[in-house]
């Protein structure tokens, strides 16, 4: 039986603790005594037979007929799936989505379905490359569908292939992929890595257009999403759920959600998932070797080392059927794997931003993405109330020096150089510049034909961090490039001690401190 997550209180026996910091990590030995360190639970038990579990889910769905009964000859079947932003890191082949899609296709073939298309639900994310698509759907499916043009990325700017399904009761546009909307059955295959994913976030967001996304992806909504890891208290999810209710009437969706364990770092890097005082001699040797190697290696080598990691996740659950019923089950599993009880808020929240986030798979963690990762995803990893009190301070670890990938993030560079130079207030930049970036023909061209994130995407990253920026008074990057931090509207410190010194004007000289020891993923339930 795996051990649950727990909260360590730093005392004089606590060894230096691992803190992720971009393409590397620190062993932090200057956490003040009494600092709370939140460790995620260890990996929970997995399903014994993955193929059998999938088969079982497809044949015994929740709130819907078994999949074979929904399939018939001459029907239009569309299979949509989560893109490479999930899971993180990328799963070692075979990807769970490939195994599910194979079974779905087998059942479809048995039923004589021949109009099948597979669509990557990448919304405004960059188009996946053929190699990336192949990794997700598997070699066989790729070979059968890609050359015929039946396996492709969703294009949120292809006006001819979008369907407007109406408005929600609050007047929000619902516009999704036309093929998916006009199918007799839409099968959605997801990887529910964290609590934010899945449910009505899959179809109404993954297959949507900008016109539809802008209703919930904005500064106002994100400040009101507390947190966006808790769909019942997330304004963004509430909007998605309203849309889901409308979509459900128009499109028959067969939702398949999967949950994974916390096995994110493969051997020999698994020491990063262990508690430091339990490191074996081998773990310590690996750690020391890696630390030395990273300090000498050029950025390119470090980048390759980390981005070549493939995780050996275990499948903890797979559920299929009606969206909301499935998602309830899914969240149970996610919470079982990620939830840690934390008693009360603290003055300071410390987090290490790792090398990888949803939007820099095979790319670089630029300063905007690092901000989104720290102040967006990690800050929001809570239920009930933030780990840090209102008006507290956040200390993040990341060098902020990776630069921008011009192929993947062209609009990010301009956002950084032109928009952030003027204002870092999410509401202000959104009101003044979002439309301009969203309608920009060059960004649109790159999004549609190259592998670029949509022009508006950097704004979303900034909105993601809006709740944190609104909530805390001070953000300090340990080890961050000073000029970059200043451009982002933050400050940089060399060490944790310096950062605490700097934060003392906000939180006093002996603040309560909490360090979220992730990844692996955790979700702090703050009472």
């Amino acid at each position: 039986m795996s051990r649950p997550g727990f909260v360590l209180e730093v005392d004089d026996r606590t060894p230096p603790l691992l803190v992720h910091q971009g393409l590397g990590f620190r062993l932090e030995d200057s956490f003040p005594l009494g600092t709370r360190v939140v460790y995620p639970p260890e990996s929970i038990s997995c399903v014994p037979d993955v193929e059998e579990a999938i088969r079982d889910a497809l044949l015994h769905p929740l709130g819907m007929d078994p999949l074979p009964e929904l399939l018939f000859a001459g029907m239009k079947l569309t299979i949509a799936f989560d893109d490479i932003s999930l899971p993180l890191p990328t799963m070692r082949a075979p990807d769970i989505r490939a195994r599910i899609i194979e079974q779905v296709l087998t059942m479809a073939a048995d039923a004589g379905v021949d109009d099948v298309e597979l669509i990557g639900a990448n919304a405004l994310h960059r188009r996946m490359t053929p190699a990336e698509l192949k990794h997700i759907v598997g070699e066989r499916v790729f070979r059968s569908f890609f050359p015929q043009g039946k396996l492709y990325n969703h294009d949120a700017e292809d006006r001819d292939n979008l369907a407007h399904l109406g408005l929600t009761e609050k007047g929000e546009d619902i516009e999704i992929n036309k093929r998916a909307a006009e199918s007799d059955l839409l099968v959605y295959v997801n990887v529910n890595l964290v609590a934010m994913d899945g449910g009505h976030k899959s179809v109404p967001i993954g297959l949507a257009s900008y016109a539809s996304l802008k209703h919930h992806h904005n500064a106002h909504t994100m400040v009101q999403s507390r947190s966006f890891m808790d769909h019942k208290h997330s304004a963004m999810h509430q909007s998605a759920w309203r849309m889901g209710a409308v979509v459900r009437d128009a499109v028959k969706i067969f939702q398949i959600e999967t949950t994974l364990d916390n096995n994110v770092f493969p051997k020999p890097y698994d020491f990063m998932m262990k508690r430091e005082w339990e490191w074996s001699v081998k773990d310590q040797a690996t750690m020391l070797g890696m630390r030395r190697g990273l300090s000498l290696a050029p950025a390119k080598v470090k980048h390759k080392l980390f981005h070549d990691l493939r995780s050996v996740y275990g499948l903890t659950g797979v559920n299929a059927g009606e969206v909301e019923a499935v998602h309830t089950k899914t969240l149970e599993k996610v919470h079982e794997q990620h939830l840690v009880e934390v008693q009360g808020q603290s003055d300071v929240l410390v987090m290490g931003v790792p090398y990888l986030g949803p939007y820099n798979v095979n790319s670089s963690m630029n300063p905007i993405l690092a901000t989104c990762m720290g102040l967006g995803y990690y800050f929001n990893s809570y239920l009930d109330q933030p780990v840090v009190r209102k008006g507290g301070a956040v200390i993040l670890y990341h060098p902020l020096n990776e630069g921008f990938n011009q192929l993947h993030h062209p609009s990010y560079v301009d956002f950084y150089e032109e928009v952030l130079a003027e204002s870092t207030d999410p509401a202000v930049v959104g009101a003044k510049y979002e439309q301009q970036f969203a309608d920009d023909p060059w960004y649109r061209h790159l999004y549609r034909t190259s592998h670029a994130y949509h022009g508006v995407h950097p704004f979303y990253m900034w909105y993601w961090a809006a709740h944190a920026m609104d909530h805390v008074d001070d953000v300090i990057w340990v080890g961050g490039d000073r000029r970059v931090a200043a451009r982002l509207g933050f400050r940089a410190a060399t060490t944790l001690s310096d950062a605490l010194e700097m934060a003392s004007s906000t939180v006093g000289t002996s603040p309560s401190i909490t360090y979220l020891h992730n990844p692996p993923h955790l979700l702090a339930h703050v009472r």
Binding site: F404, N405, Q406, L407, P410, D414, E417, W442, S450, A452
Partner: protein
């Protein structure tokens, strides 16, 4: 020269013509006469400058602060001019008829540069004087002519110099004829093959990549520089061969000879000041206009750029304040000599109040120790310590520096392009300017620093002593009263450094507010185009051309290793070809396409090249292109690369001018281009025809490029921008004050041949 009446009384009611009033001495003289000799009327011979007539120039001159008192007393500039200051428009080269009723003429005009082209020296100092004297003789019988010369007409003589005629050497008429003929002669010689061939070869070595016309323009510029240089040289050499220090003193001495001839039948005085510097008292202590002889030295010393001085410590530097000079001139004016022989007056300090170079140095140092120049924000400048090791030692240091510079220059010019090379080039440029400055001043001053001359001034002193004690007060010119320590530390050095300090402040302020990078593109102008080069400007690599054929071979399934080896072996020759001429390089590369189907090339470009190109695009470049588009400008891409390679950039440009591969009737590439690749000057030519066709205003248009071969592209537009330029272009851009920007792209750290073409 009997006493009798004060100067003002003697000059009352007189009408004096003054030349060269826009110069330092002339201005001071005008000021003295207007303020202290109330009974005198002056007429000023002034040359119109450009479209400004002489009258306007004088009106402007009288608005200067030093004239404020006189102007106020007269009730305004116009009133003053109506009452006392008449203007005679004209040029000394063809002096106009002088007004009737003149009593005296003071000739201050002259070329004060030490190294004028020989014909200029003769024209102003000899022909000008002769012309003026002819007009003087026409104007009346009894006009007193006062000639302002220089004490250094003594030339290379040594020791005591009397106040009398310079010992004769050379035939005035012969020298004059020779001097005036030199320009034509040297112009002719400069067009001969020996000069032209050498200059052309040098220019072609430097500019062949930019094209023949650029090289030709450089050759012509070099020829003109050669002519100027040769004219200066000719004058200096002839002067030295006759015993003068330089062309200036030589022609000045010949000018005196013209005056001496005139003196046989008319009254003439010759006033010979030594080195004129800022005033002791009038109009205020430290008044100075422009830079004279000693200032560059003082300033260079204060900036720490004059490490040593080639004079002996005990050599006398003969300086006189300007107010002493003009007071003496007025006194001379009031005491005309007898007809028959010119009267000579030395206005100098060396005889009775000598200032040695050592004392000059000590005072300069004391001044700068107390009031140092601030070098940017790096605190006070470190002051060199002079030990006066003698001219030879200084010369040795300087020529070592010059040799070191040449070596460094060669290395930097041939270094691969990098930020470091550019930085080195910038520093070298600074070094070159310093060396040039030192060389120039060393050459000019060498003669003067050696000149152990003592100018007798008994005659001048006699004149001074004959004045009433009031006049001695008002028109002080006894140089014995000067306390050099006070003069140098409290008067001269502060006066000389003041404008520089102001300039430094201005520069510092400008630096503080300077925005790095480019100005926003102009929004309101139509008919503007922005021309962009591709490789190295928009993209980090300049070998995009090689990408496709590497891919091509790879995909065709040939043995990759062997292929890469073959290509690698070609790299040196490719680099060679690139250095020599861009189009040769491109042709070498395009030969590799022989036998490929053009459809295949397009396909590969679309499938693989886009990522390769887009990930190497410089974000700043793309932003700039888009700004131009937003402003309604035409964006044009000019490249020597073949068209398929430009496909990913299609949406950014209104027009792409690329090379076309020739194909046979089966659609297979022949390995040749269907026309010459657009490089170097052909780009400029193409741009002009494009501009004509689309009604584009080239002067308002923009050009962006990175290498020396793009010089014509940049020169063709009004707003050229050098993007991460190579050293040659960098130097050119700095010289021409072009904008230089540093558009980086992600993988721009190296400029190697990326043979694998970024596989991902």
């Amino acid at each position: 020269m009997s006493a009798g009446g004060s100067i003002a009384e003697r000059l009352r009611g007189q009408h004096v013509l003054v030349t060269g009033v826009t110069g330092f001495v002339g201005e001071a003289l005008l000021h003295l006469m207007l303020s202290e000799v109330p009974g005198v009327r002056v007429t000023l011979l002034v040359r119109p400058k450009g479209s400004t007539p002489g009258t306007a120039r004088i009106a402007k001159l009288l608005e200067k602060p030093i004239f404020a008192g006189c102007v106020e007393a007269a009730g305004g500039v116009e009133a003053l001019m109506a009452a006392r200051v008449a203007v005679l428009e004209g040029d000394l080269a063809a002096a106009p008829e002088l007004p009737k009723g003149l009593d005296a003429v003071v000739h201050c005009a002259g070329d004060v540069s030490f190294d004028p082209p020989v014909d200029d020296g003769f024209r102003t100092n000899v022909v000008g004087t002769r012309e003026l004297l002819a007009r003087v003789r026409e104007a009346g019988e009894n006009i007193h002519y006062v000639h302002i010369s220089t004490a250094y007409v003594a030339g290379r003589r040594r020791g005591s110099i009397p106040e009398g005629p310079v010992a004769r050497a050379g035939d005035l008429e012969a020298e004059l004829a020779w001097g005036l003929a030199q320009r034509q002669a040297i112009e002719d010689r400069s067009r001969g093959t020996d000069v032209l061939v050498a200059e052309r070869k040098k220019a072609e070595r430097e500019h062949s990549r930019a094209g023949a016309l650029t090289a030709a323009a450089a050759t012509e510029a070099a020829r003109k520089a050669w002519v100027k240089d040769e004219l200066v040289q000719a004058g200096a050499e002839r002067a030295r061969s006759l015993g003068w220090t330089d062309c200036y003193t030589f022609t000045k001495a010949l000018g005196e000879r013209v005056v001496e001839e005139h003196a046989r039948t008319a009254r003439a005085s010759i006033v010979r000041p030594s080195i004129i510097e800022s005033s002791l008292e009038r109009p205020y202590p430290g008044w100075i206009e422009g830079f004279k002889m000693a200032e560059p030295l003082i300033l260079a010393y204060g900036r720490g750029e004059l490490p040593e001085f080639p004079a002996a410590a005990d050599t006398i530097v003969d300086i006189v304040p300007i107010d002493h000079v003009v007071s003496a001139i007025v006194a001379v004016l009031a005491h005309p000599p007898e007809v028959g022989e010119a009267a000579y007056f030395h206005i100098s300090s060396g005889e009775r109040q000598p200032l040695t170079f050592h004392r000059l140095y000590v005072n300069m140092r004391a001044y700068f120790d107390k009031h140092p120049f601030k070098a940017g924000d790096q605190g006070a400048t470190r002051l060199p310590e002079w030990r006066f090791p003698g001219a030879h030692a200084v010369e040795r240091v300087l020529s070592t520096g010059e040799r070191a510079y040449k070596v460094a220059d060669y290395l930097v010019s041939h270094a691969p392009r990098s930020d470091r090379a550019r930085e080195l080039a910038r520093k070298l440029e600074l070094q070159r300017r310093r060396l040039e400055f030192l060389r120039r001043y060393l050459d000019i001053y060498a003669e003067y620093t050696q000149a152990e001359l003592r100018f007798h001034d008994a005659h001048t002193l006699e004149l001074y002593r004959s004045l009433s004690s009031e006049d001695q007060q008002t028109f002080a010119f006894d140089t014995a009263v000067i306390d050099w320590d006070v003069y140098l530390r409290d008067i001269h050095c502060p006066a000389v450094t003041e404008p520089i300090r102001k300039l430094d402040e201005l520069r510092a302020a400008r630096r503080r507010t300077a925005t790095s990078g480019l100005k926003a593109v102009p929004q309101d102008k139509a008919a503007v185009a922005a021309f962009f080069d591709m490789d190295g400007t928009l993209l980090s690599s300049n070998v995009i051309e090689t990408y496709l054929w590497v891919r091509l071979r790879e995909l065709s399934g040939s043995q990759r290793v062997a292929e890469l080896g073959r290509i690698a072996s070609k790299v040196p020759s490719l680099v060679q070809a690139e250095r020599r001429e861009r189009s040769a390089f491109l042709r070498t590369v395009y030969r590799e396409y022989e036998g490929a189907r053009r459809d295949t090339l397009d396909e590969i470009a679309d499938e693989h090249l886009s990522d390769h190109v887009l990930s190497r695009l410089s974000p700043a470049a793309v932003r700039r292109i888009r700004q131009h588009r937003d402003a309604g400008h035409r964006t044009v891409l000019i490249t020597g690369a073949i068209r398929p390679l430009t496909r990913p950039l299609l949406p950014l440009f209104d027009h792409i001018e690329a090379a076309e591969l020739a194909v046979d009737d089966r659609g297979v590439c022949t390995g040749y281009l269907s026309s010459s690749p657009l490089v170097g000057e052909s780009r400029a030519a193409w741009m002009h025809s494009y501009a004509a066709e689309h009604g584009i205003d080239m002067a308002a248009s923009f050009g962006y490029a990175d290498s020396h071969s793009d010089l014509p592209l940049l020169a063709a537009v009004g707003n050229p921008v050098a993007v991460r330029p190579d050293v040659t272009l960098y130097r050119h851009a700095r010289k021409a004050h072009w904008k230089i920007v540093d558009w980086q792209s992600s993988s721009s750290s190296s400029r190697t041949l990326d043979l694998a073409g970024g596989r991902s």
